[in-house]
């Protein structure tokens, strides 16, 4: 919040003033021995500290996969919790190496902030949550409602567009932190709580009586969430991009953390190239040839990460849907390692 926000921004201003665009991020990361990863301040399923204080979640596991690829150690990563408002400045100033914080890929963010989006680790969309007692079944019945949301997000813009497009009056109350939004909604300050659908399921767990609330069926926007890096360092951009692709390709090839050692002796050329027993694809991006093997060994493939953090067996209980592989009806797709 305010206490942490100002140092970050001032640091950014000074950082921008003092240092130029630094070139080889990968060498810097290797030299310091860990990846500095920007995450949320606590969103169950995506980035959230567990009861022992360890960070868990889909976004967190992506950073662990990067650490595994570079250092062969999924724990060689340090996490910086950031609010929606602080996140880009922290990345621009070089305070973090990669931002993996349920961040929506939009054109202005990609082109005007000096940042690059490396891929889409989760295809999301914005939804609404209301109290069941209101008896509402569709978002189109929300005319005249008061809506709570977090400031500095695409959510805030989408909700304005949606109500304007459907000619419905509404009132908005925007808070700095997600927890404050949840608290205000729980206290009845607003009728509707809106954020990415995945976030709605996650935040519902924090309410006094989760069973009293329902998520409305409408999805009003495209929210492709993914990791972000600084512009101007193609090597680091490639490392981030291909760690993501390796996760998808591993799932597609049937390689997971349990069978990855056996798979090393597989005759399938796709698997051989992925796990580094054939060719020198890892060296080309400044890593070792078994980079993808390390990722799968320590963190698992994309499917495993999904099931472990947000899948049907977790409290969030989200189905794969759009996030299934392209070969299974979803849109997760990666270029081949070749």
């Amino acid at each position: 919040m305010k206490t942490k926000f100002l140092p970050v921004v001032l640091g950014a201003a000074l950082g921008v003033a003092a240092t130029g665009a630094n070139a080889a991020k990968l060498d810097d990361v290797k030299a310091k021995g860990f990846v500095q990863c920007g995450v949320s301040q606590g969103l169950p399923g995506f980035s959230n500290p567990d009861s022992a204080g360890n960070w868990t979640g889909l976004d967190v596991d992506f950073c662990r996969a990067m650490a595994a690829a570079i250092f062969d150690d999924a724990n060689a990563v340090k996490f910086t919790p950031l609010s929606a408002k602080e996140r880009f400045t922290a990345l621009q100033s070089g305070e973090i190496d990669v931002l993996s914080r349920n961040t929506t890929w939009t054109m202005s963010r990609d082109t005007q902030l000096g940042l690059n989006f490396a891929g889409v680790t989760y295809y999301d969309g914005q939804g609404f949550m209301v109290r069941k007692s209101l008896g509402v079944t569709s978002a189109l019945e929300l005319s005249g409602a008061t809506v709570c949301t977090q400031t500095g997000t695409t959510t805030e813009l989408n909700v304005a567009d949606y109500f304007r497009a459907n000619n419905m009056p509404y009132e908005i109350v925007a808070f700095e932190k997600n927890d404050e939004v949840v608290q205000a909604y729980d206290a009845g300050r607003c009728d509707v709580f809106t954020t990415d659908a995945s976030g709605l399921y996650a935040e519902r767990l924090k309410l006094t009586n989760p069973g009293d609330h329902q998520v409305l069926p409408e999805i009003i926007s495209k929210e492709p969430l993914g990791p972000v890096v600084q512009q101007g360092d193609d090597q680091w951009f490639n490392v981030t991009k291909w760690v993501y692709f390796a996760l998808i390709n591993a799932e597609e090839a049937g390689v997971n953390s349990a069978n990855v050692d056996e798979m090393k002796s597989s005759e399938d050329p796709n698997v051989k190239r992925l796990l580094g027993t054939e060719g020198a694809f890892g060296e080309a991006i400044g890593l070792s040839n078994d980079w993808a093997y390390r990722v799968v060994k320590h963190v698992g493939n994309y499917g495993e990460i999904f099931e472990r953090n947000v899948g049907p067996d977790t409290p969030l209980g989200i189905a794969r849907g759009l996030n299934a592989l392209w070969s299974k009806g979803g849109i997760q797709y990666a270029p081949p390692v070749r």
Partner: protein, 398 residues
């Protein structure tokens, strides 16, 4: 023979040397500033980060819960920042007035001969000024929200005038019809007449010793003239009352948006917390100011035949104000700057709306620049006004 001072070299002349050193310092400082600015612009360009103030004209696209000037989602980012500025100004002005009144009352109560009253004031000061302000803001916001009736329940009514629920305070909104500007003009005229009347009364008393009932005449003028204007124009001011509906579509129930005057709970909580907190400091300043005047002054004016009221008004308070004004100014500045804690409860002040703009555009340096400039100007204006007032009440030695 005339004694010429021996010619010294420029370097050994203390005056010239002073000027040289100061010029050198200014040159180094300006180069440093120039270097930082140039380097920042260069690096922003190198990193492909947009810079400049062109973004102020682009469409904002987000909504704001309280707007004192007209604003919609299609307004520009610059407009959004302006909305935030007025919201900050509102909290600062209301907060300063409320804190001053409360602070003076508590400060005087602290000196009361009544044991209960002075102890109560003492407890107030010690408890309030020792709890962090952020906690107090959260207390008023969370406690108030949780304990008030929800949007569609029967609201809590205060004297049948103001209703309270989780959506804040609801009261009558004055609608100024045609001709109401006459009343405003009458009000301004009353103030001008009062100033001249007071000068005249003062002069007359100095010359003849005769007194004039200044207080009553002032009250009569300030209240009477606008009232007269209203009667003449046939009461053009009407009130729009909030409408409470408890049937129909579910989101249409409760108070109707845009009908009547609605004060959002964030504003209520923030103003309450800020004025209660600052009042505890003002109370101590007022007590210190009054106690700084020796008791001999009171006794002397009593001996001259002045009653208790005029003693306080003409002897004690004018002298106490000299002690009170400078630290009071600091408290006013603190209150204005502390209002930026609004972000914690979602009140759309300058920092909150500016922060949203910052995040949507990513132009941190420009926004921080605007923030600093606005708070600096607000503070300089406040301290300028207070310094002017301080000079007026300062001791004039003859």
């Amino acid at each position: 023979m005339e004694a010429h001072p021996p010619r010294t070299s420029l370097w050994n002349d203390p005056k010239a040397r002073g000027i040289i050193f100061q010029a050198l310092l200014v040159a180094v400082l300006s180069y440093l500033v120039f270097w930082i600015v140039r380097n920042t612009i260069g690096n922003l360009e190198k990193q492909n980060i947009a810079s400049g103030f062109a973004f102020l004209d682009t469409t904002a696209g987000f909504g704001i819960s309280q707007t004192l000037v007209s604003y919609s989602e299609t307004s520009s980012y610059g407009r959004a920042i302006l909305v935030g500025f007025f919201n900050t100004l509102l909290v600062a002005v209301v907060g300063i007035i409320a804190a001053t009144i409360l602070g003076f009352v508590i400060g005087i109560a602290r000196l009361s001969n009544n044991w209960v009253i002075s102890r109560l004031a003492y407890c107030y000061v010690e408890v309030i000024r020792n709890i962090p302000l952020l906690l107090q803001i959260l207390f008023w916001y969370v406690a108030a929200l949780r304990s008030l009736p929800s949007k569609r329940e029967e609201p809590l009514s205060l004297f049948g005038l103001v209703d309270m629920n989780v959506f804040g305070l609801w009261g009558p909104k004055p609608i100024f019809g045609e001709g109401s500007s006459t009343a405003v003009i009458a009000f301004i005229a009353a103030i001008v007449i009062t100033i001249f009347m007071r000068r005249w009364a003062h002069k007359r008393q100095d010359a003849t010793g005769q007194q004039f009932p200044v207080g009553w005449t002032t009250l009569g003028l300030i209240v009477g003239l606008p009232l007269l204007a209203l009667i003449v124009t046939g009461f053009p001011i009407s009130f729009e009352w909030p409408v409470f509906v408890d049937t129909g579509p579910v989101f249409g129930r409760g108070f109707q948006l845009g009908v009547g005057l609605n004060i959002i709970p964030e504003l209520v909580a923030l103003t309450l917390a800020l004025s209660i907190y600052t009042a505890s400091f003002i109370a101590e300043i007022v007590r210190a100011g009054i106690q700084a005047i020796s008791h001999g002054q009171t006794e002397a004016s009593h001996a001259l035949g002045l009653r208790h009221g005029p003693t306080l008004r003409l002897v004690i308070i004018p002298q106490a104000l000299r002690v009170i004004i400078p630290p009071l100014t600091s408290q006013y500045l603190n209150l204005t700057k502390n209002s930026s804690l609004a972000v914690a409860i979602g009140y759309p002040d300058l920092v909150a709306t500016g922060g949203t703009v910052l995040n949507q555009t990513g132009q941190a340096i420009e926004i921080i620049g605007i923030w600093m400039l606005v708070y600096l100007s607000l503070s300089l204006t406040t301290s300028g006004l207070m310094n002017w007032y301080n000079q007026r009440v300062a001791l004039i030695e003859r």
